[in-house]
Symmetry: C2
Subunit: 293 residues, 2 copies
């Protein structure tokens, strides 16, 4: 199939590579030195998002944030200028659910389909083609592109209509950030009270406190392995989307707001480019105590 792939960063590169090696004809933008190998593998370098949309039937976006999606879709030489009726846009970036609905209706006006399909699983999941993919859009469109998504991920769910994939991703990022905060305060308390946080973590894993975060990030906190993984600065972007959306939806997310403030403290202390499990370091600085010490 003719597929377009726009956004060849840390996530996009391995995702596009899986599509190329699955024998799709993949039109790439924007190929730089670090993504040159994708052309050597058989990908086609395109000169603009518009050129990608002209060449492909399905155009996938994997860019950093809401303004990037808007620029790629509707900017000068953008995707919208190259689309024709019957084509499909899949936005796999993590952006605003509210903005997504606006983008989708502008694409629908061109008689094209739009799916939002943000992912979780990070660089490791992208490389292993094991991403979780949360999709918003129509059932028929979902069914049609599912074989393409299955080349990049494993746990793939149609959550609801357009925007609901982004909503699920925001909910995911809220829960992940706050669960990291939960594990941080629990293990830090245990350590400061004189217990061995590794033994406490092990004892808690069997019960109601158990989570993927206690298992993976709890171990990172104990081992002091804070190389990303998923950077605090990126999680701050996602939580910023959550808090902005919450304000526009007229709702209060008090614990999410506090988690953002703790991430802000991490950034202030120079830890913004560490893994989000390093959230514990801001709490450790307040307690004058490190759990690994």
């Amino acid at each position: 199939m003719n597929i377009g792939f726009i956004g060849l960063g840390v996530m996009g590169q391995p995702m596009a590579e899986h599509l190329i090696t699955a024998d799709h004809s993949v039109h790439l933008y924007r190929v730089k030195e670090r993504s040159r190998h994708l052309v050597e593998l058989g990908g086609h370098a395109a000169g603009s998002p518009k050129a990608v949309a002209e060449a492909a039937d399905i155009v996938i976006l994997m860019v950093p944030d809401t303004p990037d999606v808007e620029a790629v879709l509707f900017g000068e030489q953008g995707v919208a200028q190259g689309l024709s009726a019957g084509k499909t846009v899949i936005d796999m970036s993590s952006i605003s659910p509210v903005a997504t609905r606006g983008f989708a209706s502008r694409i629908a006006a061109l008689d094209c389909a739009y799916l939002d399909a943000p992912v979780s699983g990070g660089e490791a999941g992208a490389k292993a083609a094991s991403l979780s993919i949360m999709v918003g859009g129509g059932q028929k469109d979902f069914d049609r592109v599912l074989p393409i998504l299955e080349v990049m991920g494993k746990n793939i769910n149609l959550v609801g209509g357009v925007g609901d994939g982004q909503t699920a991703k925001v909910a995911n990022q809220i829960i992940v950030a706050l669960t990291i905060g939960a594990v941080s305060e629990g293990l830090l308390f245990a350590s400061k009270a004189g217990a061995d946080p590794a033994k406490v973590r092990a004892a808690l894993m069997g019960g109601l406190a158990s989570s993927k975060i206690l298992e993976m990030h709890g171990q990172r906190m104990i081992d002091r392995t804070f190389e990303p993984g998923f950077r605090i600065s990126l999680h701050q972007k996602d939580i910023n989307n959550a808090l902005k959306a919450a304000r526009s939806l007229k709702m209060s997310l008090p614990s999410t707001a506090l988690a953002q403030e703790i991430f802000n403290a991490c950034a202030a202390q120079g830890h913004g480019e560490l893994d989000h499990s390093a959230l514990i370091r801001a709490l450790e600085s307040m307690a004058a105590h490190e759990i690994g010490a």
Copy 2:
């Protein structure tokens, strides 16, 4: 074996019953109308904690809070007055780790052993003999009483020295409360943004946001089944212990403090005797939106 069991409440009754039906000679305090069936099953009603300690080699406590443990151990006609050298006290209540160390040293002065062994798993776990038990104390004492604990629980860990069992339980209660807060904000956001919280929960269960709380309490929030379970009023007691201990340890638990305030709002709204998953109701009231609606 001659076992004493003090505290025949919602948790203590089924725990004592398992010991009786496992053919131990169990001395009970305080038998009331609702625990009369334990005597019919073969338990022995004692007239005081002192009488229990005189009759038993191992004295188990399962009472509400720190002052109750102190009164039962060191009050008039208390356990300490009935103990003789070589006996063992196991406190399975959930109380202050700091106070626990004081109680243990007073019991040690009588040439008796002391283990703190708080549990998690609630009434259902007590009835099913599947409690998680977090133990603090000496390895030899732990090994000696392990067969007794195995009559009441399944996931049984020696976490460290005296007090470390209580510390692990406090850490457990911190993580559970904050994870309930995490799931509440995530699902409420999803619902208010127009997505189906049940589909979002299902999509998130495979990934980094997955937890026992998302699985069980997330389902409760969606189904609106807030009958306890574990009451908000009891979780407030545990979080109060956590915050008091944190202050005396000179550390800050900002997210735990916020969770307590949200529980306080639940209590203000008349939900203190609901299951702790009803934490979401305080957030729902702020958002003027119920996820089940």
